[in-house]
């Protein structure tokens, strides 16, 4: 298990992505799974950046671990900001025309579709969001 704590800022997104990619490389993660995990990091970490400590900032921790049966990578995002459950929102209507389209909610929807599992809990003043992707 490896973890990294950074400021919840846009500038930290590439830092977190590189940190996770380094761990994934050790497990010969397929290119496509890595791209999907990197997309999930962008969606979930940018949510923390924009909502957790708004309008200020604070720390965010990303933890990477690999579990067996089935072989999966589990990534946990932890912040101490306002309680925010991104899974509570209804899925967006993806059949709307271009005129009616907004992007809100699509990010978390992409994560739900690309990951095998996503869970959220608020515990001890912390938002804990966990994703699991089979390798």
């Amino acid at each position: 298990m490896k973890e990294l704590t950074v400021d919840a800022t846009v500038e930290s997104i590439p830092v977190i992505t590189e940190f996770v990619d380094e761990q994934l490389a050790k497990y010969n993660c397929p290119v496509k799974a890595q791209a999907q995990i990197d997309i999930a990091i962008d969606e979930l970490f940018s949510n923390i950046v924009h909502y957790a400590y708004h309008p200020g900032t604070g720390p965010a921790t990303v933890r990477v671990e690999v579990v067996e049966k089935p072989l999966s990578v589990v990534i946990t995002f932890i912040d101490q900001g306002v309680p925010y459950d991104p899974l509570a929102k209804a899925d967006p209507d993806v059949t709307l025309s271009a005129e009616e389209r907004a992007i809100g909610g699509l990010g978390i929807y992409i994560v739900k579709k690309n990951m095998n599992e996503i869970t959220y809990e608020y515990k001890d003043g912390r938002n804990i969001l966990k994703i699991r992707k089979e390798l």
Binding site: V10, I13, K32, Q36, D38, I39, I103, L106, Y109, I110
Partner: protein, 100 residues
């Protein structure tokens, strides 16, 4: 991300290379804004693009809406890889964008 721009008369092609995400989407948006007024055809060639997130979708949708509002010209997306194609599929953008 780097973005190569090719102009052939009123056909303008943008070739972003790397990752289109929260950090890099403003770069592509700025380049779209710089060329879209004079473009009759705006082509996004994603040959060198690894993936895009919803931040990238937002920029592409804005460009699509620009052409719809203007009532002339078109926007085409080319050479998407499997990961990008799946993002377009699950979000319903396959039916909105012209993807070759």
């Amino acid at each position: 991300m780097t973005i190569e721009t090719k102009e052939n008369g009123k056909e303008i092609t943008l070739l972003p290379a790397g990752r289109l995400d929260t950090t890099t989407a403003p770069q592509l948006e700025a380049q779209i804004n710089a060329v879209s007024e004079r473009a009759e055809r705006l082509i996004f060639d994603f040959q060198e693009l690894e993936y895009l997130s919803s931040a990238g979708l937002r920029v592409l949708l804005a460009a699509h809406k620009f052409f719809m509002k203007r009532g002339s010209g078109e926007m085409i997306i080319r050479h998407v890889n499997e990961t990008i194609q799946e993002v377009f599929e699950v979000t319903g953008f396959m039916d909105i964008f012209t993807i070759e």
